[in-house]
């Protein structure tokens, strides 16, 4: 039987506010446990929430970016359940009146096809704290620094049909929230997390199958793997005559599989009701217009501009426009070097490779856009070759410094002085009688290929610093002279 997957995603984006959604405690990541959990965050008796205006503005920005209805009236509800990292015994969320209503995003697949994915809603809520299970024997430790950090929960329609589409959708939402500057998008720190609802059905069937929810997946790669694995697991189950159980599952990146989170899943009854400590949020057209007029450039518009202004290919433009920090980095390099294609190659090539290898975000890149741009200028003016540039870049990454400083200090300046190169070429030819004979014996049209050996020898002798174009010309001239 041919199966079809039906996938819906819930993305939790932490909003980059200074303070928490309902208290004046800091949201900075990485502080000592419970040093950023104030009386309100700890739910001390008598404490009350007051809503952070920046969280509201961020949510409205997102709504406008996905062309959604903005809730003129939105209401905070309490979702009641007991868990040690939930200090009040309820999570303040929005069930009945979310701030962002129905919207959509367009995704582009690797083969160039596009698809529209519906967004059902996006609502504001507070994050929970963290449970640390390995700190003490027999005890769980609770850190409430994260409790009360504002989250935007973005719920998609079940429009997604494959793991690849899911990743494209998540990347698109990631690109939007980072471009808007409302979320830092840092998946490793948990600022951007994804729950995947997956079910399968025989292709052609209208009705949905039973779905599972895989929680808190924190990288694009894991999303793809977790969904693929879950689809396979469900197909195997059904084809073996079993049935899918509606449950919450956890993705184990080490084993690359999902597993059931609770053996006895108890039916939740969250007893939602409007939070009586908070009042309805009412916003008008003026409020929305001010935000609309101030929206930064969004990924789709930026991609089009990159293609128009810089002549980038569709693919390069998509990759470089996706994330705001990456786009900014690229543009700075392109301007500094005055060569967008060279800039695109380096940003997507060497720089991305190093960032990946070192698990570093672009904002923390040890090589700044200006440094890289400065180096590309030296490639363009023939001070260094592309190959030497890689060496310069290595040094820049590890030790810092401008391209000029590194070229100077390491003596990497390209030799373009024809006289000097001619001398070296003469030496190489003098030491390679055998290869010279072979060259002479070869058909003239095959001689070009044979230049490689001599080229290598010259480069070796100059430590790679000789200008390859110049070497090529001189070699050819001198060898061809021997053949006459």
């Amino acid at each position: 039987m041919e199966w079809e997957a039906v996938i819906g995603l819930e993305i939790h984006a932490q909003l980059s506010t200074n303070s928490k959604i309902f208290s004046g405690a800091s949201t900075a990541f990485g502080a000592e446990p419970n040093t950023q959990a104030c009386a309100v965050d700890l739910a001390l008796p008598g404490t009350l929430p007051v809503f952070n205006e920046e969280a509201l503005r961020s949510a409205v920005k997102f709504g406008l970016a996905i062309d959604a209805e903005i809730g003129r009236k939105s209401v905070f509800d309490r979702k009641n359940y007991f868990y040690p990292d939930l200090p009040k015994g309820y999570q303040t969320s929005q069930l009945f009146y979310p701030i962002v209503g129905v919207g959509h995003v367009d995704i582009t697949m690797d083969d160039g096809t596009t698809k529209r994915v519906g967004v059902t809603r996006a609502h504001l809520e507070e994050d929970a704290g963290k449970s640390l299970h390995d700190e003490f024997p027999g005890m769980t430790g609770i850190d409430l620094n994260r409790a009360g950090t504002p989250l935007l929960e973005i719920v998609s329609e079940p429009d997604i049909r494959s793991a690849k589409e899911a990743v494209a959708y998540v990347r698109k939402i990631h690109a939007i929230v980072t471009s808007l500057g409302i979320c830092d998008g840092n998946m490793a720190e948990g600022s951007f997390r994804c729950d995947c609802n997956v079910s399968i059905r025989p292709k052609g069937q209208e009705e949905f199958g039973t779905r599972t929810e895989t929680k808190n997946i924190n990288s694009f790669r894991f999303i793809e793997r977790a969904i693929e694995g879950e689809i396979e697991r469900q197909i195997d189950l059904l084809e073996d005559g079993g049935r899918v159980v509606q449950e919450t599952r956890l993705y184990d990146a080490n084993k690359n599989e999902t597993r059931s989170m609770r053996s006895k899943e108890e039916a939740n009854d969250y007893r939602y009701f409007p939070c009586p400590d908070l009042l309805p949020i009412i916003i008008d057209d003026d409020y929305i217009d001010v935000i609309r007029n101030d929206l930064p450039e969004l990924p789709d518009a930026r991609k089009a501009r990159f293609m128009d202004d810089y002549g980038l290919s569709d693919y390069d433009a998509m990759v470089l426009s996706g994330e705001r920090n990456l786009a900014q980095y690229f543009e700075t390099v392109a301007k500094a070097s005055d060569d967008a294609k060279l800039a695109a190659n380096w940003v997507m090539g060497e720089l991305s490779k190093m960032l990946n290898q070192n698990d570093t975000e672009i904002v923390n890149s040890p090589v700044s856009a200006d440094q890289l741009g400065g180096m590309l200028v030296r490639i363009k003016d023939d001070t260094i070759s592309g190959k030497i540039a890689k060496q310069v870049f290595e040094v820049m990454w590890h030790e810092g410094g401008t391209a000029d400083q590194i070229i100077e200090a390491k003596g990497l300046k390209q030799v373009t002085d024809t006289g000097a190169i001619e001398g070296i070429v003469d030496e190489v030819i003098a030491k390679a009688d055998k290869q010279v004979e072979q060259y002479k014996a070869a058909e003239p049209e095959k001689r070009g290929k044979m230049l490689g050996f001599f080229m290598g020898q010259v480069m070796k002798a100059t430590g790679g610093k000789a200008n390859p174009g110049a070497v090529n010309g001189i070699l050819k001239k001198k060898l061809d002279a021997l053949c006459d």
Partner: protein, 95 residues
């Protein structure tokens, strides 16, 4: 409206309350009589009426996004039943 023992047990579990076995009949009776009282509401047709969550129908005020709270962990944890290394402690949670 009469509740039975299993209703009371279910509610007590949802509310995370440990109730003594011998108290359940008393709670069942009390809760049933309270529900009889509140069910008098059902006699009124309220279908066209907007629910009133706040007496003034007031709207939410917004707070500037400023950090106003400093680390006060020592004082706030001095009243905790169990805390160590800056963490509140609970019996091991198995996920």
């Amino acid at each position: 409206m009469a509740l039975d023992r299993s209703d009371v047990e279910k509610i007590a579990h949802l509310a995370r309350l440990q109730i003594d076995e011998q108290e359940i009949p008393q709670y069942t009776e009390n809760l049933s009589s309270i529900l009889d009282l509140v069910n008098q509401m059902q006699a009124v047709d309220t279908s066209d009426i907007e629910p009133m969550a706040n007496s003034h129908d007031a709207v939410q005020r917004l707070r500037a996004d400023e950090v106003t709270e400093q680390n006060n962990r020592e004082k706030l944890q001095s009243i905790a039943p169990a805390a160590e290394a800056g963490l509140f402690q609970v019996p091991k949670v198995i996920e």
